[in-house]
């Protein structure tokens, strides 16, 4: 087969997959153009290895979406280090992912992280950044900051009142505790049940889509989700987690909690193209 012809024949499909990933991660203008070029290059390199690997067992569109999406994630891991952005940050785009990473992973304060984000995303004004910070989930850092702090990055004085700070602190402690219990309970579930809970509460996937992927009956899947939720709720209550915190977790998604969904070392092998 002439792979160049195959590439050109399916260029519109490739561009559609690229456009989808750009929309998904909030890439616009020059960033989107750069990513489109890099994605095409990825497909062309090594004599169209990506296309040569395709065995026509799935649709080309789904295959290309996965390849290109993975290419984006690999780029970000290379650029920013291993980091799993929350669904909300992913929906809000690159700047939100960067901001979340600085706050949640590197342990910077909102103001300090915002300063760094503004240096990188110069088109953002203060109000847009404030909205961004409000939209993302701020989780507790798992390790201390590795970013070198400069004079300009120094944390400005907080405008929040002492009372607000106290309340925020209490909420964080409660959230951390509830998150730890939820994480433990999720680990106890069978892999498929754990996946179902993550797809439903972290990724907000439609049950109809989930049912197709898991070869499950949609109605039975609803019942299964309800049963799992009831089970988790019971376990959380038994562990002394307040009802209000459970509500937050089970209605706003586990993303609001500090749940360690880190990729296990065993699964972190080199990925396909």
């Amino acid at each position: 087969m002439n792979w160049e012809t195959f590439f050109l024949d399916n260029l519109s499909l490739i561009e559609r997959a690229v456009a989808f990933v750009c929309r998904k991660y909030g890439l616009w203008g020059a960033d989107a153009e750069d990513f489109a070029s890099a994605s095409k290059l990825k497909i062309i390199e090594d004599n169209y290895a990506v296309l040569r690997k395709f065995e026509e067992k799935s649709s080309l569109a789904t295959y290309l979406t996965i390849v290109i999406d993975r290419h984006y994630l690999d780029q970000k891991i290379h650029e920013w280090g291993k980091w799993r952005p929350s669904m909300r940050a992913r929906q809000a785009g690159d700047a939100a992912i960067f901001l979340e990473r600085l706050i949640s992973r590197d342990g910077l304060g909102i103001a300090e992280a915002s300063t760094i984000v503004r240096q990188k995303f110069t088109e953002l004004d203060a109000r847009a950044l404030e909205r961004l910070a409000g939209s993302i989930v701020v989780r507790q850092p798992r390790r201390q900051a590795s970013v070198e702090r400069t004079e300009e990055m120094r944390e400005p004085a907080s405008e929040a009142s002492a009372e607000e700070e106290l309340l925020r602190g209490e909420r964080e402690v409660a959230a951390r505790r509830a998150g730890a219990v939820l994480s433990r309970e999720l680990d106890r579930l069978a892999p498929e049940d754990r996946l179902i809970m993550k797809l439903k509460f972290i990724d907000a996937m439609k049950v109809s889509t989930m049912a197709r992927m898991l070869h499950a009956d949609q109605k039975q899947l609803y019942r299964r989700i309800e049963r799992l939720v009831a089970m988790l709720r019971k376990a959380l209550l038994a562990a002394g987690v307040a009802m209000s915190d459970i509500g937050d977790m089970l209605t706003h998604g586990a993303d609001t909690m500090d749940i360690d969904f880190a990729v296990p070392d065993a699964a972190a092998g080199k990925g396909p193209p």
Partner: protein
């Protein structure tokens, strides 16, 4: 079943998304992505694009159906007219142009109507039936009303316990309702009716009521003179508010807009009272009484009286 150590091949993940893997392969992928966020993320994204493509292809399929059907109806209509003209000639009658034109239009319309009727009966997308009806029926069977506020056209269900109670997890009717409501979330279309139905679907199937606000708001903006859309937007805002005062104020404003359009809308009057009560406003009592002036006898009225009893200051 073996645990995959490295990330699965992209095509294997694509087949997982499309549901074409055999059982052992599917189970291995499930085990991997249950703990591998990167693979789970790409699977979720690809599934989203696949669903969008399915909707587009469905729309295109329906469009082609529609175009073909329109062509058939047109040809049959013309055929009907030609046949009519032939019969008139064969009878040796004089053809009157005006009369013939009238008959042509009548025949064409008659054939078109029967043709479209046939088409509508076979394509649910073009059915006149309200997509909310199955959800309304399922709503009527739940043990406990999931929302404090009223949704227009939905039957009365007693609200006994708060959301998040054990009832919700054990009531099969509540699960069926969620299933029916989730079907509405797949509706495409950007018309007010589709947006409103999608919003109601999200309100009753998604655990986060905030997700319903965008389509309900869009429906209300598309048809600003529709009291029902304003009142249902208020119901969603009340459900999502959880004590958030600006959101409750927005719900109140939506009720006021609904009542401006239809001052005797029972849904809007009830939801207005609920919003005022949630805001701890003293005029909530008067709002329930206003509701009773419009609806003195339904089960909603009994519930309004209970609220009045609770709100009435102690002697």
């Amino acid at each position: 079943m073996t645990m995959l150590l490295a990330h699965p091949e992209s095509e294997t993940l694509a087949r997982f998304v499309e549901g074409t893997l055999d059982e052992p392969e599917r189970a291995a992928i499930v085990q991997h992505i249950a703990d591998c966020d990167e693979c789970r993320i790409v699977v979720v994204d690809a599934a989203e694009l696949e669903s969008q493509s399915a909707v587009e292809s469905h729309k295109w399929g329906v469009g082609r159906w529609l175009a073909t059907a329109a062509g058939v109806v047109f040809v049959v209509s013309i055929g009907s007219f030609s046949n009519h003209e032939y019969r008139e000639n064969a009878a040796g009658r004089e053809i009157h142009l005006v009369e013939d034109a009238t008959r042509f239009v009548t025949d064409a319309l008659r054939t078109s109507i029967s043709g479209w009727g046939w088409l509508f009966n076979r394509l649910p997308e073009f059915s006149w039936a309200d997509p909310l009806v199955p959800v309304e029926e399922a709503y009527g069977h739940v043990n406990n009303r999931p929302l404090e506020a009223r949704i227009s056209g939905f039957p009365y269900v007693r609200r006994t316990t708060m959301r998040g109670s054990a009832d919700e997890d054990t009531d099969p009717a509540a699960m069926i309702l969620k299933g029916k409501a989730s079907e509405l979330t797949d509706l495409s279309g950007s018309g007010a009716r589709s947006l409103h139905a999608r919003g109601i679907g999200l309100l009753l199937s998604d655990d986060n009521p905030k997700s319903s606000m965008a389509p309900l708001q869009a429906a209300a903006e598309r048809e600003p003179d529709n009291a029902k859309y304003q009142s249902d937007l208020a119901a969603a805002l009340i459900a999502a508010a959880r004590g958030d005062r600006p959101m409750l104020e927005s719900a109140l404003a939506a009720c006021d807009r609904a009542l401006h359009i239809d001052p005797r809308s029972p849904d809007a009057l009830f939801n207005r009272a609920v919003a005022l009560q949630a805001l701890d406003r003293p005029d909530a009592l008067a709002a329930y009484e206003q509701y009773l002036a419009v609806d003195p006898s339904s089960p909603w009225a009994a519930e309004a009286r209970q609220h009045i009893e609770m709100l009435r200051p102690l002697p």
